[in-house]
Every structure is written in structure tokens, then in C-alpha cells.
């Protein structure tokens, strides 16, 4: 009786104890589980941490673009995002014009490079002639050559031809690298289209170029699209040529950013907004051609 009473007395304590025990057990299990999860995904977690550190400069710049101009030197992290930097950037119109110039020059140089380069790349894949190796080396050197080697003669020639500070001149000089890239990249895409398909078409009386147009080109369409996008990105990203060959009329977005840096002092919000706008199309395109990107970026590392 007494015993049961004491037991009865202790019941809450015992219950509490067993609850605490099981909680502890669960917690311990949770902890080991957590450690297990950590260990199983150690690689992914490390990768994410490294990614965060490496991306911090980009994230910081984008965050500055959305930070109110008055708070830009504040050490606090919290703020209400605003578009005022973008508004003041686009308000006077000169940056908008520069963006427009960039679009026009990039699109034109891409279009002309594709128009000339795609058929040439096709011929270079299908036709085994003697000078092929020399042409390949020439194209490689063109891709590798330092821009300064082209800029000096182009600058002197453009003065003479009146092409200085024009979009046409810029388009022309962008083809020095884009044409080489198209020829180089498209070769590997055409190589992966089986030649037997064209040969069958030829036997059926199809001409070389109509066979190319109807059979090879549609099969190489993804490669075509990603090559065009890469050309656009390379032209869009150029700074050196635009810096040297433009003054006021044909200034591109990349040169406009540097002008901000030099003349508008330390308006970091505005400058960051400009940087964000210029990298935006590149990031968008990157999502689109993710699958083919690897191929394009290692171009030249590929042996044809």
C-alpha cells in the first residue's frame, strides 16, 4: 500500500524522466542523423559554401544596385530595395543609347559572322583538302591574338576611311573574333551530323548547298543557336575595341560604365546598377544555352 503510494507519488517524476530520456534519445538520434546527413552530403554542402563565397562579389554588386543611394555607405545590411539607381541611370538617356549601340553592334556582328562562317565551317568539316591544317592554325591564332595587334592597324585605317566612332566600324572589328569563333565551333557541331545523310541526298540529285540547307543545317540547329548566342555574348562583352575605336557616337554599354567610373566619381549605386544591367543578358542567355555552354567556352581546347 505504502509502496504503491510512493510509486504513485513518483509517477509524475518517472514519467518526466522517461520523457526526458526518450527526448534525449530522439535528440541524440537526430544529432547522429544530422551528422550522417552532413557526412553523406559533405561534398554538396562544401560545394554550396564555396559557391556562396565565390559568388559573394557578384551578389554584393547586385545588392548595391538595389540599395537606396543615401544608405549606400551604411554598415547595416538591411534595407528596402529600390529601383531609384536604375531610374537615375536611365534618366539622362546616354546609358540607354549606349545599351542600344551594344545591342545593334552585337546583333549585326553575330549575323554577319554566322552568314559567312557557317558555310565555311561546313566545308572545312566535309572537304578534306590540303591547306586545311594551315587554315585551322590561322583561325586559332586569330582567336588567340591580343586585341592590341588588331586595334593599331584598324585605328589607323578607320581614321582614313572615316569609320572611327561608327557602329559599322565596330561591327567589322568584332568579326575578327566572332568569325573565327563561328568557324571553329560550328566545325565540331557539323562533324557530329552523319555525312551519310547528305550523301544519300546527293545521290537523289540534291545539290551540295540544298542538301546542306535541308538536311545538315536543321540537324545542327541547337549548335547553331548556341554558337550565335556565344557570338552575341563575346561582342556584348567587348571593352578594348570599343574603348579605342569610339568617342561619343558609337559608345557601347561597357565603355559607358567606365565613363561613369571615371567621371561620375563614386556614385556606387548607379555604377552597380549599370553593371547589373550589362551582365543581365549574359546571365539570361546562360540559362538558355546551359547544355551547350561547356562546348563553346572550351572552344579551341577542342581538337577538330
Amino acid at each position: 500500500m505504502t509502496q504503491s503510494k510512493t510509486l504513485e507519488q513518483y509517477r509524475p517524476v518517472l514519467a518526466a524522466h522517461s520523457f526526458a530520456c526518450s527526448a534525449l534519445r530522439y535528440w541524440a538520434r537526430g544529432l547522429t542523423g544530422f551528422v550522417q546527413v552532413l557526412r553523406r552530403h559533405a561534398r554538396a554542402i562544401t560545394a554550396l559554401l564555396v559557391m556562396l563565397v565565390i559568388m559573394l562579389p557578384v551578389i554584393w554588386t547586385i545588392h548595391l544596385a538595389f540599395k537606396p543611394a543615401l544608405e549606400i555607405f551604411d554598415t547595416t545590411l538591411g534595407f528596402v530595395p529600390t529601383l531609384e539607381n536604375f531610374q537615375s541611370l536611365l534618366a539622362d538617356g546616354s546609358f540607354l543609347t549606349a545599351l542600344g549601340n551594344s545591342v545593334v553592334v552585337s546583333v549585326l556582328s553575330t549575323a554577319f559572322s554566322m552568314l559567312l562562317g557557317v558555310p565555311a565551317a561546313y566545308v572545312l568539316t566535309r572537304w578534306k583538302f590540303k591547306a586545311r591544317k594551315q587554315i585551322a592554325l590561322w583561325i586559332l591564332v586569330t582567336r588567340m591574338a591580343p586585341p592590341i595587334a588588331f586595334t593599331i592597324p584598324f585605328f589607323l585605317a578607320f581614321r582614313w576611311l572615316g569609320l572611327q566612332d561608327t557602329l559599322a566600324g565596330l561591327t567589322l572589328i568584332y568579326m575578327t573574333f566572332n568569325l573565327a569563333i563561328v568557324i571553329w565551333l560550328m566545325q565540331s557541331f557539323f562533324a557530329s551530323v552523319p555525312a551519310s545523310l547528305e550523301e544519300a541526298a546527293w545521290l537523289d540529285g540534291c545539290g551540295v548547298w540544298s542538301g546542306f540547307w535541308r538536311i545538315t543545317l536543321p540537324l545542327a540547329a541547337p549548335g547553331l543557336a548556341s554558337t550565335a548566342i556565344l557570338c552575341f555574348i563575346f561582342a556584348w562583352s567587348d571593352f578594348f575595341y570599343a574603348l579605342v575605336l569610339t568617342r561619343t557616337q558609337a559608345v557601347t554599354a561597357t565603355v559607358a560604365i567606365v565613363n561613369f567610373l571615371q567621371y561620375e566619381g563614386w556614385e556606387w549605386g548607379k555604377i552597380s546598377a549599370a553593371g547589373t544591367l550589362v551582365m543581365l543578358p549574359v546571365l539570361l542567355f546562360m540559362v538558355i544555352i546551359r547544355r551547350y555552354l561547356v562546348h563553346g567556352l572550351t572552344a579551341g581546347g577542342i581538337k577538330d
Partner: protein, 307 residues
């Protein structure tokens, strides 16, 4: 192909070749005009003391090697060549290390790793000017997260880009950040080609992870690593936006590389002949390195070809 050619009359072969010519020639002609002609013009200019201030210098070939002789005695040029070597070796070494390390980390099948792989490409795709701008922000003490973090932990750091001892390192770090994805991509592709059998066999025989890395993985990726290094070495001669925006060649001349020196000689001082001579020397270096690249046997371990 051969069989077809033999049953068709020869004229078909000829007409096909003519069609091929038609497709190839326009591109080659344009390429000739926009790349080979400028190269020749550059070489010719480098043989004259051309400067636009003095019209008499335009086609003056009386002393064709004057620029090159002068370059060999120009302390600032020789200094820029040494800076170039330092910067190139530093950045290539750092890129190869960072790229290979990350490739080994990211070489897995989980979706997180695949996602991370594409995010890691971003630095290489951002326009170089924006990269330079981003690092300008990182190196400006009043706005930089790095300086804020250090300040928070009680350390003060003066601006790295204005200190002659750290300026070149600052450029090298930014350049490495921009270009490590190239090595990462190439090495990842090479790791995909790594045959599983030798690794499994070695693991079964009790080899540690480190031993597998040292004796199987590294020898496998070595050819790709060499090609990668050569490519980056060639491209490192072109480093321009980072130097232009972060340091402008300074403080003093500590970050002035040959490319940059040539740019200032030609476009700031209008010494076109002299600038061209510098460009010719850089071009010659690039040409030699390109030749080495094409000679390199890459077939067995070609990262892209086999994917």
C-alpha cells in the same frame, strides 16, 4: 563516300568541289581582309617611327629596326615584360590549382553538384568590364564587404590596389576569380572520361583516396591540365580591363604589363610605330604558344571529343 565517288562521274566531284569553294571563299576572303591584312600592316608600321604628330614619319623605312632596338634598351618595356611574366605565371598557377580543386569537389552525380557546376561558370561569362567593376567595389575600402568584415573583426586594411606590394596580387586574385571556371570545365570533362575500373581495382587493393588521386586521377588529367595552362597562358597576355580599371598600370609601374604599355604608347602618346613593335612581339609570343598547343597530342584524353 569513296564508293559513291567511284560510281559517279568525275564531273560531279568537280562540281561538288566548286560548290565547296563557293561556301569557303567568302569567309576566307573576309578573314584575310580583317585579320591578315591588319597583321601585315602592323608589321609594316612596326618598322617605321610612325607618330601622328609628325607626318614625315609615316613611310620612313630608313632604319627599320629602330623600334626593336629601342625596346631592348627601354627599361620600362623590359620591366613590363617581367611584370607580364610574373602576372601570367601567378594567375595560371592559381587558376589551375583552384580549377582542379573545384573540379575534384564537383565531380559527382548529385543534382546540387550539377547546379553548382553551372553557377561556377558565371565569373567567366560576366563581361570583363563588369568583373573589373565588381573587383573595384571589393577593393574600395568604403564600400567593400571584405574591408567591412575586417573592420568588424578589428583589423584595418589599406586599399590593396594602391599599395605597390599588393597591387599585382590584387589583380592576380581578380583574374583568377574570373578565369578558374575554364580549368574547372576542362578538368570536369576530363574526369568524366576517367575509366572506373582502375579506380575500383585500386580501392579494392586498399589504396587510399589520396593514393588514387596521386597515382590514377592526376596522371589522367595531366594532358588536359597542360593544354589548359597553355591556353590560359596565351590569354593572360591580353589582360586589359582589370588593369585599366583597378590600377591603371600603377602604383608606379608595378602592374604595367607589356600589353598595357603598348596601349599607352600607341593610344595615349600616339607613338604608333613603337606601339606596333610591342604588339608584334606579343603576337610572335602568342603565335609560338599556339603552335605548341596544336602540336600537343590531345587525342587520347580529349575532354570534349569523347563526350
Amino acid at each position: 563516300m569513296r564508293a559513291n565517288a567511284s560510281c559517279k562521274p568525275v564531273s560531279w566531284e568537280q562540281s561538288r568541289n566548286r560548290s565547296f569553294m563557293l561556301g569557303l571563299l567568302p569567309a576566307l576572303a573576309v578573314l584575310l581582309v580583317i585579320t591578315l591584312a591588319p597583321a601585315v600592316a602592323l608589321f609594316v608600321t612596326s618598322l617605321t617611327p610612325l607618330s601622328l604628330v609628325n607626318p614625315a614619319t609615316s613611310f620612313n623605312f630608313s632604319d627599320p629596326l629602330v623600334n626593336f632596338r629601342q625596346l631592348m634598351q627601354d627599361e620600362r618595356f623590359l620591366g613590363s615584360a617581367i611584370t607580364q611574366c610574373k602576372l601570367s605565371l601567378l594567375t595560371v598557377a592559381m587558376q589551375l590549382t583552384a580549377g582542379t580543386g573545384l573540379a575534384l569537389l564537383l565531380n559527382g552525380k548529385s543534382s546540387v553538384l550539377q547546379y553548382a557546376r553551372s553557377v561556377f561558370l558565371i565569373p567567366m561569362l560576366i563581361p570583363p568590364v563588369v568583373v573589373a567593376l565588381i573587383w573595384k567595389i571589393i577593393y574600395s575600402p568604403d564600400i567593400s564587404p571584405m574591408h567591412r568584415l575586417l573592420e568588424f573583426s578589428g583589423l584595418t586594411l589599406e586599399a590593396l590596389t594602391t599599395n605597390p606590394h599588393t597591387a599585382l596580387w590584387a589583380i592576380a586574385v581578380a583574374d583568377t576569380w574570373q578565369w578558374f571556371p575554364f580549368t574547372l570545365l576542362m578538368i570536369l570533362a576530363s574526369l568524366h572520361m576517367l575509366p572506373a575500373d582502375p579506380v575500383e581495382a585500386a580501392r579494392m587493393d586498399g589504396a587510399s583516396r589520396l593514393q588514387v588521386l596521386r597515382y590514377i586521377v592526376l596522371p589522367h588529367i595531366r594532358p588536359v591540365l597542360v593544354v589548359c595552362g597553355l591556353f590560359r597562358l596565351i590569354d593572360s597576355f591580353k589582360a586589359f580591363p582589370l588593369i585599366y580599371i583597378l590600377t591603371d598600370g600603377g602604383p608606379g609601374n608595378v602592374t604595367e604589363v607589356s600589353n598595357y604599355y603598348g596601349f599607352t604608347q600607341a593610344f595615349n602618346f600616339s607613338y604608333w610605330g613603337y606601339g606596333s613593335a610591342i604588339a608584334v612581339l606579343i603576337l610572335a609570343g602568342v603565335f609560338i604558344l599556339s603552335l605548341i598547343v596544336t602540336q600537343f597530342p590531345r587525342n587520347s584524353h580529349d575532354p570534349i571529343k569523347n563526350t
